[in-house]
């Protein structure tokens, strides 16, 4: 039973990161009307920037976090004109073109990380980042302060984001564009500016996710972005593309499922089970469990 509880706590921490990732991904989908498949690669790039700054500043976490957030926002804003150019003459989401463009961006980021950082080897964050003594220890499984930190920050970030989206004026503008871009334009919402704000906001979320992943995983490799990208896309499809509430539920579910499976099955087979569950759901319900919001 203790193993189960420990893994549920781990799963919630991992799930809250998935929720943040899916939320940032869905925000870009709904407001900027793009499928930013390389969004997780942007997050992994920010993890590398955090690692670099931590190394340069003698493990100053604040500077590392700020650098990670800044790099994520910057990368998102740099890619914005490319997506805008591709979407110029299209009134609705062009899934194929934006996804392929995003994959091109992902290819560049992954290869730059493979060549430009740590000679292509995986990077390891300082152990102090995850905290010292375990809060809870059951056999080989333990809950570290870093995991609790990730869970708390993840929950606060998700709650803040949903509050922003549903209780503030800019949030209403985001939702209005997501519902009806032409109607939003008619009532005076600036589409371009709001679109750019969505890139910046998802960049901000990306930076926070990069920090949480650094704490939770303790390491990163160039290929991590592809694996996370795959899970994010899978979660958003299972939830229903663009469905924010669905993303919240499915993201948490996937995190907990993965953690529980890892608690009882060793090795890489645990990933296969998560993938098979995802595959079965997608094959059975290609439009998602909670319905599309496009």
């Amino acid at each position: 039973m203790e193993v189960f509880i420990a893994q549920v706590i781990n799963g919630l921490a991992l799930g809250s990161i998935y929720v943040l990732l899916v939320t940032g991904f869905n925000l870009l989908l709904l407001v900027a009307m793009i499928i930013h498949f390389a969004y997780p690669q942007v997050v992994v790039f920010s993890m590398y920037i955090i690692w670099l700054v931590l190394g340069l500043t003698g493990n100053n976490l604040l500077l590392g976090a700020l650098a990670g957030i800044a790099s994520s926002i910057l990368l998102n804003l740099i890619s914005a004109p490319l997506f805008q150019k591709v979407m110029e003459k299209r009134a609705e989401v062009d899934i194929n073109t934006t996804m392929v463009l995003s994959m091109g961006i992902g290819m560049i980021i992954t290869d730059v990380l493979s060549h430009g950082f740590n000679k292509g080897h995986p990077i390891a964050f300082p152990e102090t980042l995850a905290g010292g003594e375990a809060i809870l220890r059951v056999g080989l499984i333990s809950v570290l302060p870093g995991q609790v930190f990730s869970l708390v920050v993840g929950v606060v970030a998700v709650s803040s984001f949903f509050l922003l989206l549903y209780k503030t004026r800019p949030g209403r503008a985001f939702r209005a564009i997501a519902e009806d871009p032409n109607g939003a334009r008619l009532v005076g919402i600036p589409l371009l500016r709001t679109g750019l704000e969505s890139y910046a906001l998802s960049g901000l979320l990306g930076g926070i996710i990069a920090l949480l992943l650094s704490v939770l995983l303790g390491s990163a490799s160039p290929g991590l972005g592809e694996q996370v990208a795959h899970k994010v896309l899978a979660v958003s499809i299972i939830a229903g593309l663009g469905n924010l509430v669905g993303g919240l539920v499915v993201g948490l579910f996937l995190g907990i499922l993965e953690a529980i499976v890892q608690g009882y099955i060793s090795g890489t087979w645990s990933n296969v089970i998560a993938f098979v569950v995802m595959l079965v759901i997608i094959l059975a319900k290609p439009n998602g469990l909670f319905g599309l919001k496009l």
Binding site: L82, V86, I105, I108, H115, N271, L279, I282, L283
Partner: protein
């Protein structure tokens, strides 16, 4: 034949065939990445048949094609008419599952890979010529079939699905059946390519079946042009061959170059370099040129 030329010709042919395997389902808007997983599944199965069961290459090749077709057909039954993003994610999931299963299966070499596949035609030279003959025989056969498909009613229906799926369905076209047909054909082709790819290098390693290969194939399709099969015919040898001429320090960045090229083309020339219109222009130019010598004679006769 010099080895560099042999590898250039064979890998170009594999890239071309695999690009066509992606091109066909994309005619109706599906990015069917499961073909990469199919390459691995069929390739490893064929290698196991040859190395462990001592079965002949030709039987293993046939099994590779059939296994590709079977996997493709079963999956297509579910996603024949699914939205693009669902098809994409099914492809990625299959790649991850396939990789993990192979990594953990010692019978097919696990993370070490499979080595020591035998020569197909006896001697190394005969092996190379046999592999080349099979690959280019396939290139001509599949190229001819796709050319016929593009000009057929079915090809026009696929183009209609690409533009407007709902309208095409309302015209009475069975989108699911077409999806199943195209996806099964592309998976069959990928299965065969997987077997041949392994026999080019006489070994298999999982490093090939990654996101990188998808990136390369997508660059071939989108830079060459996804509206006609001729785009891939031009792009496959150029994109694989040109980086080979670069100095090693630049060539090692070829994925960055591919990514940048892909983005540039999507932004500046979204349909790629070779479009249907371009092919029609070239076609009418050639037919005009062929007719030209007869014109002066006719004029003389008229005079």
């Amino acid at each position: 034949m010099p080895l560099p030329l042999y590898y250039f010709l064979t890998i170009t042919a594999v890239n071309l065939l695999m690009s066509w395997a992606l091109y066909l389902p994309y005619r109706m808007g599906h990015l069917h990445f499961i073909v990469v997983a199919n390459m691995a599944i069929s390739g490893y199965t064929a290698a196991f048949m040859v190395l462990s069961l001592q079965l002949p290459f030709w039987l293993a090749l046939l099994a590779g094609f059939l296994l590709g077709a079977l996997v493709g057909y079963i999956v297509a039954l579910f996603i024949g008419d699914a939205p693009t993003f669902a098809v994409v994610i099914v492809g990625f999931t299959f790649i991850y599952i396939t990789r993990t299963v192979i990594e953990n299966t010692s019978a097919v070499g696990g993370t070490m890979g499979l080595f020591g596949l035998p020569n197909v035609g006896g001697s190394p030279a005969a092996h190379r010529w046999t592999i080349l003959a099979i690959l280019y025989g396939l290139v001509f056969l599949v190229g001819f079939l796709i050319h016929r498909f593009d000009r057929s009613q079915l090809g026009r229906a696929a183009s209609a699905v690409f533009i407007d799926k709902d309208l095409t369905a309302s015209l009475g076209i069975d989108i699911k059946k077409m999806g199943i047909l195209l996806q099964t054909f592309s998976c069959t082709l990928a299965g065969g390519c997987g077997v041949l790819y392994g026999f080019i290098y006489k070994s298999f390693h999982l490093d090939y079946f990654t996101f990188h290969v998808i990136g390369i194939l997508m660059t071939v399709i989108f830079v060459g042009g996804y509206t006609t099969l001729w785009g891939t015919v031009l792009a496959a040898p150029v994109l694989y061959g040109v980086p080979l001429l670069f100095p090693p320090e630049i060539a090692s960045w070829r994925i960055v170059i591919y990514g940048a090229l892909l983005i540039l083309v999507l932004v500046l020339k979204p349909e790629g370099f070779i479009t249907t219109r371009f092919v029609h222009t070239i076609g009418s130019y050639w037919s005009r040129k062929r007719r030209q010598p007869t014109l002066p004679n006719r004029r003389k006769e008229n005079l």
